[in-house]
């Protein structure tokens, strides 16, 4: 993953903060004193009043029926979606055939040479090894299928994202329109995209590619806009004074100045596309994701892992190469001549591979890892599941966690009257942000009630809160340790990479084998998924603390514990807050995977909607997850108070 830097923030002096906070709370209390009695007299009870819900299943059912009936005759489908779908099939097919024609030796060579030119010798070696491992695991053809799908999806995402970003970067009005849309898309769970796309395009590659584009384009759009807006004012003025036209300014100054952001956008888009490529296997995308998904049916962790490793390798290689390319941007550009040499060399290797018959990966070179992995997993679950002396087995922990943490949390949330939940949300969001963020948070929460999924949403919320708490405790502990020991961090980095990029389907079975079916394994899966980002941001935040501050603390005789508590942690506060925010968003992204291991609630409803082709059930639950995401994001994301005029 590319690095995420926290925006530098100046902490306000505590005196003013408490004053302001008190003022906000007081206003809220007054508002509540007026509104709550009104609401209660009208609609009492603890759950959301049924008088205030809107049943959308009727219209959504009609819409879905209409699409099914008109899909093969209506002009919209014949002349628009049909061509879109055709274009996708043709391009994926073309890329796939090209990859197969170049052969495994050729693909490996081309990949390594490109990596060498843009990122250096070490990454070139890494790329070559990664491709060879894919072949070694017997996954060459599925890897190429995924790669073909990815290439098309990433190109389309980059084009769409860059265009949107350009619009948002150049026009303030577009920016205002697009920002909430992009915000929403970031918290929309990947599974929720699949349902409408499948309905229109049917299962298969076109639907998978389009869902991927919708999922992966927003980061590109965001970062493009950010890069264009962040361009140095003085440089722009200088260029303007030269009498350039607007288009010249854009092409010669603003876009080149935004290069780093654009590359970061590309990096993020690739990572998101790759994670979606796996999820899209549920709708028949083929490739590696399909192998992972099929292995699940026979509860074969080893086979799932064999297909998961190539995904991890692809992700790590693509991430490192695009990241390194971004860092080397400032350096002297490679001359076209070296590119030409690289090209010639690549073509030569590909041709040599062709003539030497190295097109298809030889079966004799495949290594079997499924057996040993399955034995290891069996051993682990057999010995850790229960009856471990003193500490108890994992199943016992899961039971206690469910009984003592998840149950009280869920019942407590569902016991609270609906208006008090809104009030708590408003208070939290207002304390950390502005009245606007508070309003968004409250409206998002109210929308959940209106959609008629209040209780399942609170169930999901309780799981999310528990998972975030566990993630933060472990994440901060590991992050602090990594920030203090270079060796530990070096050792940790590949582990985090693996956990962050491993398709979540792979750890579904081990999680159930350890924790049983229910909400506990769902929480465990969420923790595993969200932990790497939290650890990373924490470590980075702590390491960026001004060395001079640490030095002076040390000279005053502070012990290392005191340094950490009194200097590092307070100074790294923005980064820690960002870690909380990212933790929340990532945990929420796995809610649906939780539905696959017995987490129930919203996650299960989305899976149900997808499995039964029930647009209403799936979309409503998906929308509720988005609302929860918006609410949690607003409650955890500190917003700068709007700067007063003239400041």
């Amino acid at each position: 993953m590319a690095t995420i830097t926290a925006p530098a923030q100046k902490a306000a002096p505590p005196g003013i903060l408490t004053n302001r906070a008190a003022r906000k709370l007081l206003t809220l209390a007054v508002a509540a004193a007026i509104l709550v009695p009104l609401a209660v007299s009208q609609w009492g009870g603890t759950t959301w009043p049924s008088a205030l819900t809107v049943d959308v299943s009727g219209p959504l059912g009609t819409a879905s029926d209409w699409i099914i009936d008109n899909r093969d005759s209506h002009p919209l489908f014949l002349y628009f979606f049909g061509h879109v779908s055709n274009a996708v099939v043709i391009s994926v097919h073309a890329v796939y055939l090209a990859l197969l024609a170049v052969g495994w030796a050729g693909v490996t060579a081309v990949g390594a040479l490109v990596a060498w030119r843009v990122a250096g010798v070490r990454l070139a070696l890494g790329t070559a090894v990664a491709f060879l491992v894919c072949g070694l695991l017997g996954m060459w053809v599925p890897t190429m299928q995924t790669l073909a799908l990815m290439v098309v999806a990433v190109v389309a995402s980059v084009v769409v994202g860059a265009l949107l970003g350009l619009a948002a970067g150049l026009s303030d009005r577009m920016d205002r329109v697009l920002r909430p849309v992009l915000d929403t898309m970031q918290v929309l769970p990947a599974f929720a995209y699949l349902l409408p796309v499948v309905l229109v395009f049917g299962i298969g590659v076109p639907a998978a590619v389009l869902a991927t584009v919708v999922y992966a384009a927003p980061p590109m759009a965001r970062l493009t806009a950010l890069g264009l807006r962040g361009a140095d004012k003085e440089v722009l003025e200088a260029v303007e004074s030269l009498g350039t036209t607007a288009r010249q300014r854009l092409l010669t100054a603003r876009v080149p100045l935004a290069r780093k952001d654009l590359l970061l956008g590309l990096n993020q888009t690739i990572m998101m596309a790759l994670s979606m490529a796996v999820i899209a296997s549920v709708i028949g995308a083929g490739g590696l994701g399909d192998r992972v998904y099929q292995a699940l049916a026979s509860v074969d962790v080893g086979a799932a892992l064999a297909a998961g490793i190539p995904i991890v390798l692809l992700a790590v290689v693509l991430d490192r190469v695009t990241g390194a390319a971004g860092e080397r941007l400032g350096d002297a550009q490679a001359s076209p001549a070296t590119w030409a040499y690289a090209l010639v060399a690549a073509v030569a290797v590909a041709l040599a591979g062709r003539f030497a018959g190295l097109l298809e990966w030889p079966e004799a070179w495949e290594a079997e890892i499924a057996g040993p992995v399955n034995r290891a997993v069996d051993w682990m679950t057999a010995h850790l599941y229960s009856g471990v002396p003193v500490i108890g087995g994992t199943a016992d922990w899961a039971g206690h966690f469910t009984t003592w943490v998840l149950d009280p949390l869920r019942d407590g949330l569902q016991w609270l009257p609906w208006w008090s939940v809104l009030l708590v949300v408003a208070a939290l969001a207002w304390l950390i942000g502005t009245w606007r963020t508070a309003l968004t948070a409250v409206l998002a929460m109210a929308a959940i009630g209106v959609l008629g999924v209040w209780n399942p949403s609170l169930d999901t919320l309780s799981q999310v809160l528990a998972a975030v708490a566990v993630t933060l405790v472990i994440g901060f502990a590991v992050g602090v340790a990594a920030a203090r020991s270079d060796r530990f961090e070096r050792w940790l980095r590949p582990v985090l990479d693996v956990f962050q990029t491993m398709p979540q389907f792979v750890y579904l079975i081990p999680v159930v084998a350890l924790f049983g079916v229910g909400r506990a394994p769902a929480v465990a899966a969420a923790v595993v998924y969200a932990l790497p980002a939290v650890v990373r941001i924490t470590t980075q935040g702590l390491r960026q603390v001004d060395p001079a501050a640490l030095e002076s603390a040390r000279s005053l005789g502070a012990t290392s514990g005191q340094q950490l508590r009194q200097v590092q942690l307070p100074l790294a506060r923005p980064a820690l807050l960002l870690a909380v925010n990212q933790g929340v968003v990532l945990v929420l992204a796995v809610v649906i995977i939780g539905g696959l291991v017995g987490g129930g609630a919203l996650g299960y409803q989305v899976v149900f909607g997808l499995a039964q082709g029930d647009l209403a059930a799936g979309l409503v639950a998906g929308a509720a997850i988005v609302c929860l995401g918006l609410m949690l994001d607003r409650v955890t994301q500190p917003t700068e108070r709007r700067t007063t005029k003239g400041a």
Partner: protein
């Protein structure tokens, strides 16, 4: 401005000039390029369905010279894909009256392919070791007696009835309510999770009550006994909210895309004739799920030893 008009004109030309593009005519981009005869089969997520497809695929490829693509999707989306021609055949269907009405009766885009030869049955099961210890648990009337034993952290105070994948046919929540049982339905969310949990329970010889179905390879690994529910009568499951009877015994069906059924040549004829017994299917399933053989190897082993069975399927 001229640029924009050209662009608009170009876009219009693109949209209208190329004529209609019927999405139903598209094949997978990963399908074979050499113009071979291709058949696309839908594989559902359970192993029995994988066994059907593995054997059909092996014979289509080795005896009839077809190339076979497989697509793994849930059941309802698979019906949808079948009607669009993205998939040519579903080999094992457990009964989807709503989809049958829509696609087979009304739109006529799907044609029936006849019986698979296997009879499917859904029910509630307890492990045999538990049933031997407490023989009366196999009658639903006594289930409440054992609710305490079957409690888990997820079922809160009540006994746990474990259900599986959301794509499967289930009336369990209505059954628990209408039979007034002290149980809570806990959805495992996927068959993989359900099987893993059953295996863990069995390893510890713990009692459990689960939604399950036959034929299923897991019975060979974890023997289970069915709990008798009130007997099934025709129409007793008509209203999903009022169901209070057992699940029926369903002769599993094959369905073909209507076009494919007419013009699919040898492949369509072969798939229509494809029929085998529960034992045959289980034999292949076990090789895949327990011995962790690849579906292709398992199919080869079965085909090598059952020539008399499959010779009859060839057109």
């Amino acid at each position: 401005m001229r640029l924009r008009t050209t662009a608009v004109a170009g876009a219009l030309l693109l949209l209208t000039g190329c004529g209609a593009a019927d999405m139903t005519e598209q094949a997978s981009p990963f399908a074979n390029a050499q113009g071979a005869r291709t058949v696309t089969l839908s594989v559902q997520s359970w192993v029995g369905a994988q066994a059907n497809v593995a054997v059909a695929q092996y014979l289509l490829e080795h005896e009839l010279g077809y190339r076979v693509d497989t697509v793994q999707v849930d059941e309802v989306p698979a019906w949808d894909a079948l009607s669009q021609g993205r998939v040519d055949a579903i080999l094992e269907d457990w009964g989807h009256p709503e989809q049958e009405q829509r696609y087979v009766e009304d739109k006529k885009t799907i044609a029936s392919g006849g019986d698979l030869g296997v009879t499917g049955h859904i029910g509630w099961f307890v492990p045999t070791y538990f049933a031997e210890e407490h023989p009366d648990v196999t009658d639903w009337k006594n289930l409440d007696k054992y609710a305490g034993l079957l409690r888990t952290p997820e079922s809160g105070g009540k006994g746990q009835l474990m259900d599986g994948s959301p794509s499967y046919v289930t009336n369990d929540e209505a059954l628990v309510k209408n039979l007034d049982l002290d149980y809570k339905v806990v959805f495992a969310g996927s068959e993989a999770a359900q099987i893993t949990q059953i295996k863990q329970f069995a390893k510890e010889k713990k009692p459990f009550l689960t939604y399950w179905y036959t034929p299923q390879w897991l019975f060979e690994k974890v023997p289970m006994t069915e709990v008798k529910l009130p007997p099934y009568k025709d129409g007793c499951d008509a209203d999903p909210a009022k169901v209070d009877c057992a699940y029926p015994h369903t002769p599993l069906q094959k369905y073909l895309n209507a076009d494919f059924a007419k013009r699919g040549g040898e492949a369509a004829a072969f798939l229509k004739k494809f029929t085998w017994t529960t034992e045959d299917q289980n034999q292949v399933s076990l090789m895949i799920a327990e011995q962790k053989m690849s579906p292709e190897e398992a199919a080869k082993e079965w085909v090598d030893s059952h020539e008399s069975v499959w010779k009859a399927w060839l057109p």
